[in-house]
């Protein structure tokens, strides 16, 4: 029932140019793994050749190691899952001394995710890692819903985002990517604040705050009351936020939320994303990111796109609204 776009001549998928650019960093292709869903990369090295991916976004690290939240940390919900990990991570020192060297050996393009409860903590992280070999870019997690301090709501303030990014910017020569929370009234405002502050790119979006109650025990199905919702259930919501953010700024946007297929990834690209991140899908299928990449390549080839960049923002909301007067002047007519 839909009007197909004009047909192009197919080209061999292997010849599709998938390279994209995030600030000064060139990625082989737009498929990355999402922070917190692929460990520190090496866990999956025996099933996924990390060097074939666009990049690996590592688990958010904080200055000190964090033990994370008490159980239960996971609850499945229809089409999605809630998590309340609470930023369990090995901390800055072990990340730099043990994890990064391994990732260098695996030839992964590493995007190091950093998180802090205050602007100062983020400065400490960037001062320590900002010029470290083997880090391609930094993703600043401004959007964790699962920590008592320094979480998504703390960072939902556009001014704080702008000021903090302006302080971080001089501390590294690598691109800075600001990862945004979807739980805001207008993501265009936080997006623009990050751009003003000097972010080289945005990631839209982190998980959505959610709650599930175990009635019989009359407590949360998680150890903490709320968690973050991810997976296919949130894809339409994440896509809407990604589309809005991408149209509000000139810097590249990385899409995240429910991506599980090449078509999902391309929906985000069409909505304006330069690259995308595969998260929860990896829990279902360890090789999800690789499959998403191959499906994307196939689709682009079959539809005659020589470069993935042709498709960035290709979706325009030019809809046949002209046939639908919102208010019918019934009184005037009858």
């Amino acid at each position: 029932m839909s009007h197909a776009a004009p047909r192009r001549k197919p080209i061999p998928p292997a010849r599709v140019d998938l390279r994209v650019r995030i600030g000064t960093l060139e990625l082989k292709n737009p498929i990355l793994t999402a922070s917190g869903t692929f460990g520190y990369g090496d866990e999956y090295a025996h099933v996924v050749d990390l060097s074939t991916l666009g990049g690996v976004v590592t688990k958010t690290v904080t200055v000190k190691p964090r033990a994370g939240n008490a159980p239960t940390r996971i609850a499945e919900t229809p089409g999605g899952m809630l998590n309340s990990i609470g930023l369990e991570n090995v901390g800055l020192a072990r990340f730099r001394d043990e994890k990064l060297p391994r990732l260098r050996v695996l030839k992964a393009t590493v995007i190091a995710s950093v998180g802090g409860e205050t602007p100062e903590e983020l400065e400490t992280l960037l001062r320590a890692l900002g010029r470290e070999k083997g880090v391609g870019a930094f993703e600043v997690n401004f959007s964790c819903p699962n920590v008592a301090a320094g979480g998504a709501r703390y960072w939902a303030d556009p001014e704080r985002l702008e000021r903090t990014l302006a302080r971080l910017k001089p501390l590294t020569d690598r691109p800075l990517i600001a990862k945004l929370s979807p739980d805001v009234t207008d993501i265009r405002e936080t997006a623009r604040a990050c751009e003003r502050g000097g972010a080289d790119a945005l990631t839209a979006v982190n998980t959505f705050v959610g709650l599930a109650i175990d009635l019989d025990a009359m407590r949360s199905r998680l150890g903490k009351a709320t968690g973050g919702l991810s997976g296919p259930a949130v894809k339409p919501l994440a896509l809407a936020r990604c589309w809005e953010a991408a149209h509000a700024v000139r810097i590249p946007v990385l899409g995240s939320g429910g991506i599980a297929s090449g078509r999902d990834a391309l929906e985000f690209v069409a909505a304006g994303a330069t690259a995308v991140q595969v998260g929860t899908a990896t829990f279902v299928e360890p090789e999800a990111a690789t499959r998403v990449l191959e499906e994307m390549r196939e689709w682009l080839g079959a539809h005659g796109h020589a470069r993935v960049t042709e498709l960035i923002g290709a979706f325009r909301a030019e809809h046949a609204q002209e046939h639908a007067p919102a208010t019918l002047a019934v009184e005037e007519r009858s």
Binding site: V47, G68, G79, N83, P232, F283, P286
Partner: protein, 293 residues
């Protein structure tokens, strides 16, 4: 513990048998393609229904048997349909496809020196049926303590008896209501039997966490070693999501802190062990049983 790490893969498996097993349980036999490593008793897999599936995440399931037929590996599972995922599993027909990620986690250290005592509570019998098999194949004997609320819930009882008979191992049954065997729980029965067995005892147990905590405490109080197969809600099953924490004992915490980097394959969290990669089988001293839920 045996630590066959990073050998897991996700493969498409075929249903070769699927039958009712009594008391609402089902037995599922899958044939996995070559390349899938042979699982150790106590290890588990993540079972994922073929697309389109009514649930998102795969479901963790202990391996209850592993055998080769004509060069092909078959793995068996004993499960109860309790929610959407396992109820959908129950609809599988012979020939259907299921995706299997595994083998995952650390199994029972069955070769550990001492008298093996297998302690099963309810559906916890699944990995212990396999453990009994392995022990039988290595021509050793074991004691198999099997408990349930009532006789009809002793699922796999006949199977256990048959497997054990091969090498002179013994089955000891306990029911809370006394409808079969000893009246009481497995720990009471264990306590009664222990005196007659040659120390040191090496217990391998699986069952509800409450039972496992009691077994662990008994073992610590009685100088036995106990290896307990734990459960947790899981997402990845492979250690990356950090979603399946179990509370470490103070002793284990201090060790992780001291060993630092070397501990637990670089992922050591001194506070919480991950069920999927640090376990699911834990020695009694590894966990803080007061905080196990």
């Amino acid at each position: 513990m045996s630590t066959p790490q990073r050998t897991w893969r996700q493969v498409a498996a075929k249903v070769r048998a699927h039958r009712e097993y009594g008391a609402g349980f089902h037995w599922l036999d899958l044939e996995v393609p070559t390349g899938f490593a042979a699982p150790v008793a106590g290890q588990f897999v993540q079972l994922l229904l073929d697309f389109p599936s009514p649930v998102l995440l795969p479901r963790p399931m202990s391996v209850a048997s592993a055998s080769r037929r004509g060069g092909r590996l078959r793995i068996g599972f004993l499960y109860a349909p309790v929610g959407s995922g396992t109820r959908a599993l129950a609809k599988l027909a012979v020939g259907d496809t299921v995706h299997v990620t595994g083998p995952l986690g650390r199994g029972y250290p069955l070769a550990e020196r001492g008298t093996p005592v297998l302690v099963a509570g309810g559906r916890g019998v699944a990995p212990l049926l396999m453990a009994a098999d392995v022990i039988a194949k290595s021509r050793r004997r074991c004691e198999f303590v099997f408990g349930a609320r009532t006789a009809s819930l002793l699922v796999g009882h006949a199977e256990a008896r048959e497997r054990l008979a091969r090498n002179g191992s013994r089955l000891h049954v306990a029911t809370d209501d006394g409808s079969r065997g000893f009246r009481g729980n497995v720990v009471q029965l264990l306590d009664k039997l222990a005196g007659k067995l040659e120390p040191p005892l090496v217990i391998h147990a699986c069952g509800p966490h409450g039972m496992l905590a009691a077994v662990a405490r008994w073992a610590m109080a009685n100088g036995a070693r106990a290896h307990l197969a734990m459960e947790s809600v899981m997402a990845c099953g492979t250690g990356v999501c950090r979603g399946c924490p179990l509370p470490r004992s103070n002793e284990a915490r201090d060790r992780v802190l001291a060993e630092g980097a070397a501990a637990a394959a670089l992922k050591g969290n001194p506070e919480w062990a991950m069920c999927c990669t640090d376990g699911p089988v834990f020695e009694s001293r590894e966990l803080d049983w007061e905080r196990v839920e």
